[in-house]
């Protein structure tokens, strides 16, 4: 195979190029091990026989998963978490998507300031939001804390994520498609329903998916805004804090697998959307 000499190949190559390359490969390997080793040990310990997880491994068992399956307080906590996540996701997705339109397409006075304002709840540590809401609900409004206050707390930080994700998709939206639809006699509503929404659907879906995981996982804000109820993270927290049982390892492993599944599902849906868009553009 004859090939011309690319100008890049005549460039001076560092004498240490090989060493640099290998040290970078080793670094990447170590980093990946660093990221996954704790998780691997966690999964291993969830099958450990002894009641105090640790080395050496005495034997493997499914006992803790059976305990988990029989534990009604976990199921109740899981149900509460799911309940909150569903309400939060529906509200945050709708509200966030609506905000993205004026933010990208004009209609608000200072989109830059608004954008910064909407990134604040993402950046401000959750503990501050949680404490602010606790003081607001209890000391200013004198409300009883409960699931609705948790939903309110989750809305604060999930809505901005939807706004940013949908706005990013809208930014690259080819508006000529809408004008074509309008030109052909479609009402604004029909254009929105049949042209705009289907095209930004992957972003909306990604935002919704992120909301579900964020809400199910949220501990800090829930901790400050909840009443007597218990969500899954709160349950895990009490388990970790007061009395380590291998059951926690089992819950953690199940959560891990569930998140991975949701993540895989999400990426399949998203890449499907991406492919569709590419086809639409072609």
């Amino acid at each position: 195979m004859a090939r011309g000499v690319s100008p890049l190949e005549t460039m001076p190559v560092s004498r240490f190029a090989r060493q640099i390359r290998w040290s970078l490969i080793v670094l990447t390997g170590i980093v990946l091990a660093f990221l996954y080793l704790p998780v691997a040990f966690l999964i291993l310990f969830s099958f450990e026989e002894a009641a105090t997880p640790g080395f050496p491994i005495t034997g493997l068992t499914l006992h803790w998963y059976q305990v988990l399956a029989a534990d009604s307080s976990i199921q109740k906590a899981l149900f509460t978490s799911a309940e909150i996540a569903v309400v939060v996701t529906i509200l945050a997705t709708i509200i966030g998507t609506m905000v993205a339109f004026p933010l990208v397409r004009g209609g608000v006075r200072a989109p830059g300031t608004l954008r910064l304002l909407f990134t604040m709840p993402i950046m401000i540590p959750g503990v501050l939001i949680g404490i602010g809401l606790l003081i607001f609900f209890r000391q200013a409004l004198h409300l009883q804390l409960g699931l609705s206050t948790v939903v309110a707390g989750h809305l604060v930080f999930t809505t901005p994520f939807v706004v940013l994700i949908v706005a990013a998709r809208l930014q690259g939206f080819d508006r000529r498609l809408e004008w074509a639809a309008a030109d052909l006699g479609a009402s604004p509503w029909r254009t929105l329903r049949y042209i705009v929404l289907p095209l930004i659907a992957p972003a909306i879906l990604a935002g919704a998916l992120l909301c579900v995981t964020l809400s199910i996982d949220e501990f800090v804000i829930t901790f400050f805004t909840i009443g007597p109820q218990q969500t899954l993270p709160l349950y895990i927290y009490t388990q970790i804090k007061f009395g380590v049982t291998p059951e926690v390892n089992a819950i953690a492993t199940v959560i891990l697998c569930a998140t991975l599944l949701a993540f895989a599902l999400g990426s399949v849906l998203l890449s499907g959307g991406r492919r569709l868009r590419r086809r639409a553009r072609a």
Binding site: F34, P102, V104, M120, Q139, A182
Partner: protein, 305 residues
């Protein structure tokens, strides 16, 4: 395409419609529910916390409008608060530095040395933990750092120590390791997004013109990924100012960070005192965000998942 041109183009086909107040209101209308959430669940609570921070909690744990500056004075006068705050800043800086020192070569390797598929796979491997439960990730470290954890067993196995060390489980080094672990993915995402946009032939050009590799790196590459580095710093440093879980779960009594003190106040129903401390942290965060708002690329981190 910028927002202005989009906006201008948007009104073109509707040129006949007068740009009346009604029309403008109509276009801003969809933002209202979101603004309401932002206003009533974020800005107003923060403002109320600010007001209450000048009040006092009386003996019945009630807030009374007895205006004073004591809650703020305490922060500066009583050593514990200032010391813990400084310690939090040091911890945050160390973790940020660690994530940058690991993250920059890591992201550089991804962009420069791997093909598209490997790149996507490794990036995915970095993002996945970011999607799993925070509590689970912190807890997972107990399997390694705990008293019967892998690290102690390993160190005992090679004969370096005789009995399980509590250095990693109940002290600052453990908190440092876990925080680095938790916030590393954010840094990588920000750095990767910046490096991906960089045209690496510029480095060759610089060297062609006589620059040493380190000069090319410092004067050509670094300035162009500056925004990515700042974003990475902010995404690692700021959350640590609000970290109270990791110190609680893997640290000991001595590893409290500033947010732990806020939470302690709240536990004792001292809303005014805790509120003042929270306001100090929030003010610090807000200033950092406003100073770096031009370089902060939240979307790079948020939308890459």
């Amino acid at each position: 395409m910028t927002a202005e041109t989009l906006d201008g183009a948007a009104s073109a086909p509707l040129a006949g419609v007068p740009n009346s107040l009604v029309r403008r209101l109509g276009r801003a209308l969809p933002a209202l529910p979101g603004l309401a959430v932002l206003l009533f669940l974020f800005l107003v609570p923060m403002a109320i916390m600010f007001v209450f921070s000048f009040w006092r909690t009386n003996n019945d744990f009630r807030l009374v409008p007895d205006w004073n500056l004591d809650n703020y004075a305490r922060f500066f006068l009583e050593g514990t608060y200032l010391r813990t705050f400084l310690k939090t800043l040091v911890m945050g800086s160390l973790v940020t530095l660690a994530t940058l020192l690991i993250g920059i070569p890591f992201a550089y390797f991804l962009v420069r040395y791997t093909n598209r598929w490997v790149q996507r796979a490794i990036l995915l491997a970095v993002i996945v933990p970011f999607w799993t439960s925070y509590l689970v990730r912190v807890y997972a470290w107990q399997a390694i750092l705990g008293e019967h954890g892998a690290l102690n067993q390993f160190l005992m196995g090679i004969g370096l120590i005789n009995q399980p060390s509590t250095l990693f489980n109940y002290d600052d080094p453990g908190v440092f390791v876990v925080l680095t672990y938790i916030y590393f993915p954010f840094a990588v995402l920000a750095l990767y997004a910046a490096l991906e946009k960089f045209d690496f032939t510029q480095l060759n050009a610089a060297q062609d013109l006589g620059a040493r590799p380190d000069q090319a790196f410092r004067h050509i590459l670094l300035p162009q990924i500056r925004a990515g580095i700042i974003t990475a710093c902010i995404f690692v440093f700021i959350p640590i100012l609000g970290e109270f879980l990791t110190p609680t779960l893997v640290g000991g009594a001595q590893s409290s960070l500033i947010a732990n003190l806020v939470v302690n106040y709240l536990r004792q129903a001292q809303f005014a005192e805790g509120g003042a401390l929270a306001i100090i942290i929030a003010a610090f965060v807000t200033v950092v965000m406003i100073v770096f708002r031009k370089s902060l690329r939240v979307e790079d981190v948020v939308t890459s998942g």
